[in-house]
Symmetry: C2
Subunit: 457 residues, 2 copies
C-alpha cells in the first residue's frame, strides 16, 4: 500500500475508530499497526513488514491465518445459503456442528445452545443455570460463585462474575452480587514451590469453596471457572487437582460447575479441552474463539441433559428459555467450525502441535536464567512469565514504567505481536506454529527483553 | 436432499440442538424447517419447497439472500486476511466502515466502537454512558431509564433495560434496577384515534419522563429507546413527536439519549435510520443486524465526541474503556458491511424500496376490513396488525389458543415464514422485495388468516 494511502487510513483511524481495551491517547503520537495481509502465524503491515502473531489474535486463531480449507468451506457454504434465522428453521451446518461438539467435548454434555461471542456464551450459561433451579423448585439458588483473577467477558452478566478489578470495579453498581473464592495461584508460593506446598495451596482453595458450599449451597446456582488457566487475569496456570476437587464439591453440594473454555478450548492447552487435564466434565461448558478457528464470531454453550430437560415442557408451563441472538447459529460460522474440526482430524493437529509444545518447553527454560524473569510456566501452546525488578523477592517494577507496554512496542520493532498483561509476558500460539518458528520467536523476545530491561537494571 | 438424509438431520437436530427462544417440546411432534438454499427473499427447504422470508431472518437481511456482490466482498477480503485482533492492530475495512458509519448516521456521532451483536452494542452503550458520568465528576448518575414494551437484547445488562416481562421477569434477581416510563403506544386509543388524542398521549408520555427527570436527573445516566418502533415488544409504532420531545428533555436535563437502532437501522423504516423520522440525533447509537446486510454478526456503538473525549487521557488517569470482544471489528464482517453500504448507494436501494413500501401500504389497507383484525400499521418495509376475538372491543383470543403459533404453522404450508409476536402478525421485509412479491405475500397471508380464524368465529 502506498505511503499516502497509509497516511490517509491512519488519520481516519484516529478520527473515527475507538479501539477496544485501549487508552486511545496512547496512540496519539504512535500508530496502530495497519495490517494488510496474514498468512499462517505471520501478519504483514502495509509496508510489508512481518510480525509473528504470538497471541493468535487474542487467543482465537488455531490453524494459522488464511487456511485454504477454511476459505473453501466459507465459499461452499455461501453457494448454498448465507444467514438464516435459527428459530423455527434449522440447517445442516448448525445441526452437524452441534453433533460434533457433543462428541468432542467432555462426556455428559448433550445439548448445544449457540450464540455469538464468549461473553454471550457465559451469559447463556448463567441464565440457563439460574432458570434451571427456578424450574425444579429450588428458587433460593440464585447466586453465583467465581474465582479471583477470573475473566469471563465484558457484558454485565459476565462482568458480574469477573475477578479482575482493573476491568470490573468501575461498574459495580450495575453488577449482580457474586461470591469470590481464592485462586490456587501457585505463584503465591514464590521460590518455595514444592509439590507438597502446591497440594496444600490447592487444599486451602478447595476448603474455602467447601466452607462456602456448606453454609450457602442452598443459595448457590453455580460456580464459573476458567479450567487450568486464568487467561486475562494474568495467565495463571493452576493444578488440575483443584478442578477435580471442585467437580466433587459441586456434585456433593448440588451446585453447577460452569467451565468457561472460551479461551482454552480447541487444543490450545495440549488437550482438546482444558477440562481433560483433570479428567472432569462440567455441567455447563462455554465455547467461542477457537470454535471457528478464530475466523469469525460464533459461540456455544453446552449443558447436561437434565438441565435441558428442566426446560422441556408444554408451552403453557412457561419454562421456555427466552434467550436468543439474531445471528444465532450463523451457517457460515458453523461451516467454518465444522471444517476446523475436520482439520483437527485430517491433519492430526493436536498430535502435531505436541512437538511444537515440546520445543516451547525447552525454549521457555532458557528464560529462567535471564534477569528480571520469574514464574516461567507453560501448558501446551500457552506459555508465560512475569517480569519483576527483583524476581527473587518478587518486587515489581514501578507501575508507571509500564514494562508490558514497553515490551509491546519493542516487540513490534522485532517483528513480534506481544500483548503483555501488565508485566506478564505470554505466548498463546496457533497450533500450526513450527518448532523453528518458536525458536525464532523466543530469540526475538529475549532480544526485546534485554533492550527493555537493560536500562532499568 | 434425499429423504433419508433429511430424516437423519432432523433426528440429530432433536438430539443435539437447543434452539433460541423456543419451547423445544413444541417441536416434539413437528419438525423445524430444514433450509437448504436461499435466494433473494426466498428460502428453500430440503424438499425444494419455497418460503417467503417475510421477517428477513429476524429483521437482519437487507438486500436478499445470496447477493453476489456481498459474496464477492467476502471472497476478496479472505484473499487479503481473515480475522485479526483490533487492539494495537488496525485494518482498512474496520477504518473505512467507521468513517462511513459516521457519515451515514445522524449528525454529531463521531466515534465507532465495534462489537458482535445487538445485545453487546447495547451493553457497550450502557457501560460507556455509565463510565462517562463517573469520569466527568457526576458520580451519582448511575441509573438508566427504559420504555415499557422495550427489548434491547438478552445479556444481563440489556435485559435490565428490557420492558417485556415474558422475556425478563424470571431474571429479576440478576438485573440492575432501571426505571420504566410509559410507551406512547397509540393502540391504547383503540377506535378513538384522532391526531389530537395521539398528541395528548405523546404529551402524557413525555410528562412522565419530565417528572422523572425533574426529580431524579442527577441520578440518571441515560434513557434507552428503540426509535419509532418497539419491535420485539409487539411492533409498536409510535409518533415521531415523542422522540423529538425526548431529545429536548435529555438535552435540558443532561441525560444521555441512547437510540437502539439494532432493528430499525439500515433502511427498514423507509429512512436510513429511524431517528431521521424525528430529525433527531441521539448521544449514543446502537447498530447491528442490517449493518452486515444480515450476513454475519457485527455490531457498532457510535457516540458523540464529548463522550469519547471523557475517556481520552493519560493512561495513568485510569479512564480507559475496558471493554472488548475477541472478534471486535472482524475484517470479513466489516468488508461485508462496506459492500452493503455501497449497494445502498449504487443501486439506490432506499429510493427503490419506496415503491415497494407504497405497495405495502395499499396491501395492508386490504386487511382492515377482515374479521379479527385491528391496528393495521406500517413504517417503510415494516407492517403489523393485531388479531383479536373481537377487534371492536379489543377482546383478545384466549391465550391457550396460541393464534400466533397457528398462523406460523399455517403460514409454512402456504410458503410463508411468519413469526408472530403473540397475536401480532407482522412483516419485516428485505429492501429488495418487489411490489408483486408483496402482493403475493399478502394474498397468502390472508388465506392463512381465514384458515386459522374461520373455525374460531
Ligand atoms: C432493538 C433491538 N436491540 C437489541 C437486540 C439484540 O440483538 P442480538 O439478538 O443481536 O443480540 C435486538 C434483537 O432482536 C433488537 O431488536
Ligand atoms: C475465558 C474467557 N471467557 C470469555 C471471554 C469473552 O469472550 P468475548 O471477548 O468473545 O466476548 C474471554 C475473552 O477473552 C475469555 O478469555
Amino acid at each position: 500500500m502506498d505511503r499516502e494511502r497509509q497516511q490517509e487510513l491512519r488519520e481516519k483511524d484516529r478520527q473515527y475508530v475507538w479501539h477496544p481495551f485501549t487508552q486511545m491517547k496512547d496512540y496519539a503520537a504512535q500508530d496502530h499497526v495497519l495490517i494488510e495481509k496474514a498468512d499462517g502465524i505471520m501478519l504483514y503491515d502495509a509496508d510489508g513488514k512481518s510480525y509473528y502473531d504470538t497471541i493468535s489474535s487474542w487467543w482465537c486463531n488455531v490453524h494459522g491465518h488464511g487456511n485454504p480449507r477454511i476459505k473453501e468451506a466459507i465459499r461452499r457454504q455461501l453457494e448454498q445459503f448465507d444467514h438464516i434465522m435459527f428459530s423455527g428453521l434449522t440447517h445442516q451446518p448448525g445441526i452437524e456442528l452441534a453433533e460434533q461438539l457433543v462428541q468432542v467435548t467432555p462426556d455428559g454434555l448433550t445439548k448445544v445452545f449457540y450464540s455469538d461471542n464468549g461473553s454471550t456464551a457465559v451469559e447463556v450459561a448463567i441464565k440457563m443455570s439460574f432458570q434451571y433451579w427456578q424450574q425444579i423448585g429450588q428458587q433460593s439458588k440464585t447466586n453465583f460463585v467465581f474465582m479471583e483473577n477470573s475473566y469471563h467477558g465484558d457484558t454485565i452478566g459476565a462482568v458480574s462474575v469477573g475477578g479482575v478489578d482493573l476491568y470490573h470495579a468501575m461498574f459495580k453498581p450495575l453488577l449482580f452480587n457474586a461470591i469470590r473464592v481464592p485462586s490456587p495461584d501457585v505463584r503465591q508460593l514464590g521460590n518455595e514451590r514444592t509439590p507438597e506446598r502446591e497440594a496444600a495451596l490447592v487444599a486451602d482453595a478447595l476448603d474455602a469453596v467447601r466452607t462456602l458450599f456448606r453454609e450457602r449451597a442452598h443459595e448457590l446456582a453455580g460456580i464459573i471457572v476458567e479450567p487450568m488457566i486464568q487467561a486475562a487475569g494474568g495467565m495463571v496456570i493452576y493444578p488440575a487437582a483443584y478442578l477435580r476437587g471442585l467437580r466433587e464439591l459441586c456434585a456433593q453440594f448440588n451446585v453447577h460447575l460452569i467451565a468457561d473454555e472460551v479461551a482454552t478450548g480447541f487444543g490450545r492447552t495440549g488437550r482438546m479441552f482444558a477440562c481433560e487435564h483433570a479428567g472432569i466434565s462440567p455441567d455447563i461448558l462455554c465455547l467461542s474463539k477457537g470454535l471457528t478457528a478464530g475466523m469469525m464470531p460464533l459461540a456455544a454453550t453446552l449443558c447436561r441433559e437434565e438441565i435441558y430437560a428442566a426446560f422441556y415442557d408444554d408451552y403453557a408451563t412457561q419454562k421456555t428459555f427466552f434467550h436468543g441472538h439474531s445471528f444465532t447459529g450463523n451457517p457460515v460460522a458453523c461451516a467454518v467450525a465444522l471444517e476446523s474440526l475436520r482439520l483437527f482430524r485430517d491433519e492430526a493437529v493436536l498430535e502435531q502441535s505436541q512437538a511444537a509444545a515440546n520445543t516451547l518447553t525447552e525454549q521457555m527454560n532458557t528464560f529462567t536464567s535471564l534477569p528480571h524473569v520469574a514464574d516461567v510456566r507453560q501448558l501446551g501452546m500457552i506459555a508465560a512469565l512475569d517480569l519483576y525488578r527483583d524476581p527473587e523477592t518478587r518486587t515489581p517494577f514501578a507501575s508507571d514504567l509500564r514494562i508490558g507496554t514497553r515490551m509491546y512496542h519493542a516487540g513490534l520493532a522485532e517483528g513480534l505481536i506481544l500483548r503483555p498483561l501488565g508485566d506478564t509476558i505470554y505466548y498463546w500460539l496457533p497450533l500450526c506454529t513450527t518448532p523453528s518458528q518458536i525458536e525464532d520467536i523466543v530469540e526475538r523476545t529475549q532480544r526485546v527483553l534485554r533492550q527493555v530491561t537493560a536500562p532499568l537494571s
